[in-house]
């Protein structure tokens, strides 16, 4: 790409810290507001701060998860491997926000009421579904290092990391299920996910040579 004049090195040196900082913003916003709330100072968490945190962290986890899924299609569309430089970081941020989401639920919302929590995970299908997505993401986060790619071999590593699509599906289903009535917002996320899955399917079906990425 001629119009893509930023070098991969510049992206590594400046682009990655910038993206990192940007992706930290929601978490810092949340932490700052809870810090205020704990001191009874004005904050933007609203009248039900626990509900706000659950939704806020869930929203960002899902957004970053979908963003990480969009990187490969993007890179193919613009015929540049540069977006791939950010894929791991975005994926790990998605996992980070999933962890915050669970922390918010377990700590702020349920106050470590483990018996109630366990009953919820088993009894409430939408929580079971969401929790499965979390479990599925753990091995992906763990094996995200260069060392693990070597250990597993690129091929099986890639195979393993296809599981992120399943996590995406589970996350969107979790979101649709927790809303009351017929609501549009979760369906927008579902639409984006379907689009990304469709892209993936097309490239799998239309592939002649073994994949290079």
């Amino acid at each position: 790409m001629t119009n893509f004049s930023v070098s991969a090195n510049d992206l590594r040196r400046f682009g990655k810290p910038l993206v990192f900082a940007l992706m930290m913003v929601p978490a810092l916003w949340l932490a700052w507001n809870w810090w205020q709330a704990f001191q009874y100072l004005p904050n933007d968490l609203g009248f039900n701060p626990q509900e706000t945190s659950n939704r806020f962290t869930g929203d960002w986890a899902l957004r970053f998860l979908l963003l990480s899924l969009a990187i490969t299609p993007l890179s193919k569309t613009i015929r540049s491997s540069k977006p791939i430089l950010f894929r791991r970081m975005i994926g790990l941020f998605a996992f980070f926000y999933v962890c915050l989401h669970i922390t918010s639920y377990v700590w702020l919302d349920m106050l470590f009421d483990w018996s109630e929590l366990w009953a919820d995970v088993l009894k409430r299908i939408y929580i079971t579904v969401g929790f499965s997505a979390f479990l599925l993401l753990i091995p992906l986060a763990v094996t995200s290092t260069k060392g693990w790619i070597k250990r597993l071999g690129a091929r099986s590593w890639q195979g393993l990391h296809k599981a992120v699509y399943l996590a995406g599906v589970l996350a969107v289903v979790h979101f649709i299920m927790m809303r009351k009535g017929f609501q549009i917002e979760p369906l927008i996320y579902a639409g984006i996910l379907l689009l990304l899955l469709g892209f993936r399917l097309r490239s799998v079906l239309g592939r002649r040579a073994p994949q290079r990425t």
Binding site: G46, N48, Q50, E116, G181, F182, Q183
Partner: protein
């Protein structure tokens, strides 16, 4: 006439906030509202600044020593899907609603059907102050100082026939005033219903006011139901139709998800919502959760209504 029986949830007269303090507070508020109205410049948001007039109401035994949920929370954290599904949406969007003038159609098995002006249905000289707990099906709760009249007093005016077994209520459904109607979240208009004996119970309130003033749009102006022993969604807002029927009427949430929302929907910590536990609730403004009480703590007045019924089957 109230039977002066001392209930466990009632408090002695001397334990409540003094009336002068309460009235003074109201005067201050009315004054502030008047100043607000005077300085409000004409703008596209003119209707946002609807001035809520003070309402005079007589104190009743329906009081509570539990601290009231702050007015800001009661008026800015709402479920009113006709104005959007976010908790802050009703506060943002409900200025479009025009609660004056308002009329209510009364039909079905009544001797006095017709279209009533709100003032003809509700006796504004007989308004009562009633403090009730509100328990939302989403497991949060508030303590709200309503102003209104018992539903029974209104039903007496329209004279239900002997065959009337249920009361059906309907909310306004006007796209001009309610932007949320663009989305098929529920099958509009919103409808709710009560069994006639539930409707005649003295606890069942038709509210026209909140916190000493006219009820704000986002809380269901100008006329809403308050059934404190049932989950909040039973307390239908902005009522435009009251019908007496001999068959159990369909109700919006029950039609939308029959497995999750029953016709009765009595607050019951022993019967979970399929997607979450109902054992505890978050009182808005508190950090932790408190135990949910059966019938939201009003069992002494309403448990008899369900004698012999399986509350698990009739959720």
């Amino acid at each position: 006439m109230l039977i002066k029986r001392k209930e466990t949830w009632q408090e002695s007269e001397n334990s409540v906030t003094g009336e002068t303090a309460y009235l003074n507070r109201r005067t201050v508020l009315a004054g502030a509202a008047a100043i607000g109205a005077a300085v409000a410049a004409p703008s596209v948001f003119a209707q946002r600044d609807r001035v809520l007039g003070p309402l005079a109401a007589r104190p009743t035994d329906y009081r509570s020593t539990e601290s009231l949920t702050p007015e800001a929370a009661v008026t800015q954290y709402n479920n009113y899907y006709e104005f959007g599904t976010g908790k802050g949406d009703p506060y943002e969007n409900a200025w479009r609603l025009q609660p004056k003038p308002w009329s209510v159609t009364v039909d079905g098995l009544v001797d006095k059907p017709g279209t009533y002006a709100l003032e003809d249905l509700v006796d504004f000289n007989a308004l009562e102050d009633r403090i009730y707990r509100l328990r939302c099906v989403e497991a949060w709760s508030m303590v709200v100082p309503w102003i209104g009249v018992s539903l029974a007093s209104v039903l007496k005016k329209i004279e239900p026939q002997s065959g009337a077994k249920y009361v059906r209520f309907e909310t306004l459904a006007d796209r001009e005033q309610m932007p949320g109607l663009r989305w098929p979240v529920l099958d509009w208009p919103y409808t709710e219903g009560l069994r006639i004996d539930e409707a005649m119970n003295d606890l069942t309130l038709l509210a026209v006011g909140l916190y000493g003033k006219e009820i704000p749009n986002q809380n269901g102006a100008p006329l809403r139901l308050v059934v404190p022993w049932k989950y909040g969604f039973k307390s239908i807002k902005s009522i435009v139709r009251i019908s007496l029927t001999d068959k159990q009427p369909g109700t919006s949430w029950n039609i939308s998800a029959p497995r999750e929302y029953g016709f009765y929907s009595n607050v019951n910590p022993e019967v979970d919502h399929p997607r979450w536990s109902q054992r505890r609730e978050r009182r808005i403004g508190e950090f932790g959760r408190r135990e949910t009480q059966k019938f939201n703590g009003y069992g002494e007045m309403v448990a008899d209504l369900y004698a012999g019924m399986d509350l698990r089957a009739n959720y």
